[in-house]
Symmetry: C2
Subunit: 206 residues, 2 copies
């Protein structure tokens, strides 16, 4: 199978970490790809993902699996099931919900990034940036104070999503001050960084 | 259980259609809620969903399930499993992938809508609108020409997602001309509209 990815994409990072943790990374050919909201990419849109987003998984029969969460579900099933996504009980819905929140936090952070970096300066709207950033910050607030995501084991996809949120904050918003505001998240991040999968997938210096 | 929703939200519409089709709608109290990217809503952020998005499912024990896809998974399992989301085989990944594409198409259409209606006129960026709209259009192109989503049965969540995309196009982009460009989607939409669940959940006149 092939995985389209970019080292800067937090969604691709999540999928890579999951593939490593599930022992599948050697079965996957990583294919660097470049997509950006301000550039069309007809080949990618037509043949891989009409949403023009990374990552996408291309199976050996040529069919494609998106989005990053569905790819993780696919990998989890390949690895036997119930590994990074609990297969039953209240924990299943908790992990899926927490993961969906990390996914939405990343979407919001990317919208901030596009507004601050990609959009012509004269067209930027501070209300939009504040509103998107607030979603990410409220998510951090929730994870700092509620539930057991920071301490539970075994590892799950919500924890991997959260470490990708924090890594993306370091990568694109290095002055946001999340470590000071959320000391428990800082401890969690340090612990997660001891995993090889998390360490080697840190985005390159911006 | 309670479901936060708004009649204008295509994501909430999808969840409602699924609940009706699964025979669960009588167990759900619909709770109207209002969220908008240009307004904070601290109560909603803190207590329901830090992403400030609709819909959210509030279970009887007070815990919350998001996002719309996870809610559909939850309902599907409540109804016995494998109803609107195939539980195994290639079909499972096909339906999940197609559903994820409809989800991304809706996200892109909402970004268009916010850019055109919410953002102050002087700050609008045509490149952004074109780029987001192109994702939705490429998605329609794909569904018009590839796979069996338009004709297969039994009903699945990707088909429900697609009818919500088309309904949202009618609701917010009535002049986009999708019916003329995609005659097979038009036939599909007409057929889907014969379902009570689809018909009664059409957004109110804009």
């Amino acid at each position: 199978m092939k995985l389209t990815y970019s080292p800067a994409s937090p969604f691709a990072r999540k999928v890579r970490i999951c593939a490593i943790e599930l022992g599948l990374i050697d079965k996957i050919e990583l294919v660097p790809a470049s997509v950006s909201p301000d550039k069309l990419n007809e080949e990618y849109s037509r043949n891989i993902n009409p949403l023009r987003k990374l990552p996408a998984l291309i199976l050996d029969d040529g069919s494609t699996v998106v989005d990053s969460y569905v790819i993780v579900e696919y990998f989890d099933e390949l690895a036997g099931g119930g590994k990074l996504i609990p297969s039953s009980g209240a924990k299943k819905w908790q992990v899926k919900t927490e993961h969906a929140i990390t996914q939405g936090m990343l979407d919001a952070m990317l919208l901030c990034r596009y507004e601050k970096m990609l959009r012509p300066e004269a067209l930027r709207w501070p209300t939009w940036i504040d509103s998107q950033w607030e979603r990410a910050w409220q998510g951090l607030t929730r994870f700092e104070s509620r539930g057991d995501i920071l301490t539970r084991s075994p590892l799950d996809v919500a924890q991997i999503g959260l470490v990708c949120v924090l890594g993306y904050a370091d990568f694109r918003f290095p002055d946001c001050g999340w470590r000071k505001a959320f000391p428990k998240l800082d401890t969690f991040h340090n612990k997660m960084m001891q995993r090889e999968s998390v360490k080697i997938s840190v985005p390159p210096p911006a």
